[in-house]
């Protein structure tokens, strides 16, 4: 009897399952016995550090670069190495290859002596200082800023309060403006129930556990499902490597300065002042209409942290004529890192910046 094609397909399938089961065992052992993967490997210099603030400059790798440098501003809740997870999975490396001069603002956990930092410190001191230092470092008077999530909010406030400043282009990645559209986050921090003063006055610094629990609770099954998925995919080296890098990043959530958290809760979450145009920073009203530079806003279709309701008003409120909106497939994190980002977001951002960086 000659084997039919159905028999051979079944044999292939069984062989694949056996191979993968063996591979799972081998890789599983390696997984539990090895250290987490190294991250943030692209060569860089720390050109400024002050308490919680760090400014990196990445070594250019192109023979010829665009005139205007790019500053990436990380959200205050997480480490900036998500921009530089691993070779081939690094947005920084991609931008360097495309010919950009890249700077990154990263955050260290704020110390108890920094518990009093507020939005003014971040937007009227840290950001302007970094912009000034970049100008000194590279010799160019202007800069493009790319802000991610809360980093986007800080960049927006900076841009609105420094309308005549050196900002050339502003790209916001999944940046909330209408904080009443923040879904469960807004519900949990409802002023009727959430005593933010007690939290901040007791702890000074809002612990990283509190911050990461808030994110985890938005999708409580995500972590256990991720663990099951990684076991099932244990035969796939690339998947495991990528999962471990993301997992490490997720575990290294940062604590927040108490006053900054209090102000974010009261002014943004409760009173929606950024959206209403009543937020005050640097003794001036934050009017998003004052932003006249080219603005790009990239959001994710399945973002469970910053919903469309929260992010969509950004482009309606700014005063720029050159404004671009891009809604991409993916979630809050897969927008900036991982295979989706490599295929979709990085090329789109790079093309947009390139046209405006000479």
């Amino acid at each position: 009897m000659t084997p039919t094609s159905s028999d051979s397909t079944l044999q292939d399938s069984i062989r694949r399952m056996v191979d993968r089961t063996i591979q799972r065992g081998v890789n599983g052992f390696r997984y539990v016995t090895s250290a987490p993967p190294a991250v943030g490997l692209t060569p860089k210099d720390v050109i400024h550090e002050r308490g919680t603030l760090r400014l990196y400059h990445y070594h250019p790798i192109a023979d010829e670069i665009y005139r205007v440098p790019v500053l990436l501003v990380m959200a205050t809740t997480n480490r900036a190495y998500v921009f530089d997870l691993a070779p081939g999975q690094s947005m920084v490396q991609y931008l360097l290859e495309q010919g950009f001069d890249v700077y990154v603002i990263d955050w260290d956990p704020p110390s108890q002596s920094e518990r009093g930092l507020d939005l003014d410190d971040y937007t009227q001191d840290f950001l302007p200082t970094c912009v000034r230092l970049i100008a000194e470092d590279c010799g160019e008077p202007d800069v493009s800023i790319v802000g991610y999530c809360m980093g986007g909010v800080l960049s927006l406030i900076y841009a609105a309060t420094h309308a005549d400043g050196p900002l050339k282009n502003l790209a916001c990645l999944t940046t909330p403006v209408n904080w009443h559209g923040m879904g469960l986050m807004a519900r949990w921090s409802d002023r009727r129930f959430f005593d933010v003063d007690r939290l901040v006055d007791t702890l000074g610094i809002v612990p990283a556990d509190f911050v990461s629990a808030s994110f985890d609770m938005l999708r409580p099954a995500q972590k256990p499902a991720g663990r099951l998925r990684v076991w099932e995919q244990m035969w796939n080296d690339e998947f495991v490597k990528s999962y471990r890098a993301f997992d490490r990043w997720g575990e290294e959530t940062l604590p927040l300065a108490g006053e900054y958290f209090r102000q974010t809760t009261k002014d943004l979450m409760w009173d929606n002042k950024l959206y209403n145009g009543t937020l005050v920073a640097g003794r001036q009203r934050v009017d998003l209409g004052a932003i006249r530079v080219p603005v790009m806003h990239i959001t994710a279709e399945h973002d469970h942290i910053v919903s469309t309701e929260a992010s969509a008003p950004l482009l309606q409120q700014i005063g720029s004529e050159d404004r671009t909106e891009l809604v991409l497939k993916g979630g809050h994190v897969s927008l900036i890192a991982g295979p989706n980002a490599v295929r979709r977001m990085w090329p789109a951002l790079s093309t947009w910046l390139a046209e405006r960086s000479t």
Partner: protein
């Protein structure tokens, strides 16, 4: 045929099961956690925890004070002050090195590749504009 084989593959079925399970759990949890009752209960719990923490910290600080010993907060403040001094010294050292290696004329502190790159759209235009034919 391939579809039939996929249906028989237990690992593909497991993947599907995980995805469905995750969606179901998240959906139910989000409905429960999106209520006022949940927000109220979670915050009551947190306030109790914070109250206990405060009381414990205060009691411990009093005991340590009576024993003439520094509290953890005192040690933290001291540690941060030392680290602050260390960072400040490192910054001063960095500035001094920068000044020492700086050329006399004003300009960027770092030399790098030329900043003359053009975007692909302009590169096409400039090459055709410069084309003698």
């Amino acid at each position: 045929m391939a579809e039939q084989t996929q249906r028989k593959d237990p690992f593909i079925q497991l993947q599907q099961f995980i995805t469905d399970w995750e969606r179901r759990i998240d959906g139910v949890a989000n409905r429960v956690m999106g209520t006022d009752e949940f927000a109220r209960s979670a915050n009551v719990l947190q306030n109790v925890q914070l109250g206990l923490q405060r009381a414990f910290l205060d009691a411990m600080a009093t005991h340590l004070n009576n024993l003439n010993m520094p509290s953890r907060e005192d040690i933290n403040i001291l540690g941060e002050a030392v680290m602050g001094l260390d960072q400040r010294l490192a910054r001063i050292e960095q500035q001094l090195q920068k000044i020492a290696s700086m050329p006399d004329q004003a300009g960027p502190t770092r030399k790098g590749p030329p900043r003359t790159k053009r975007p692909p759209s302009q590169r096409g235009m400039s090459s055709s504009a410069g084309d003698p034919s």
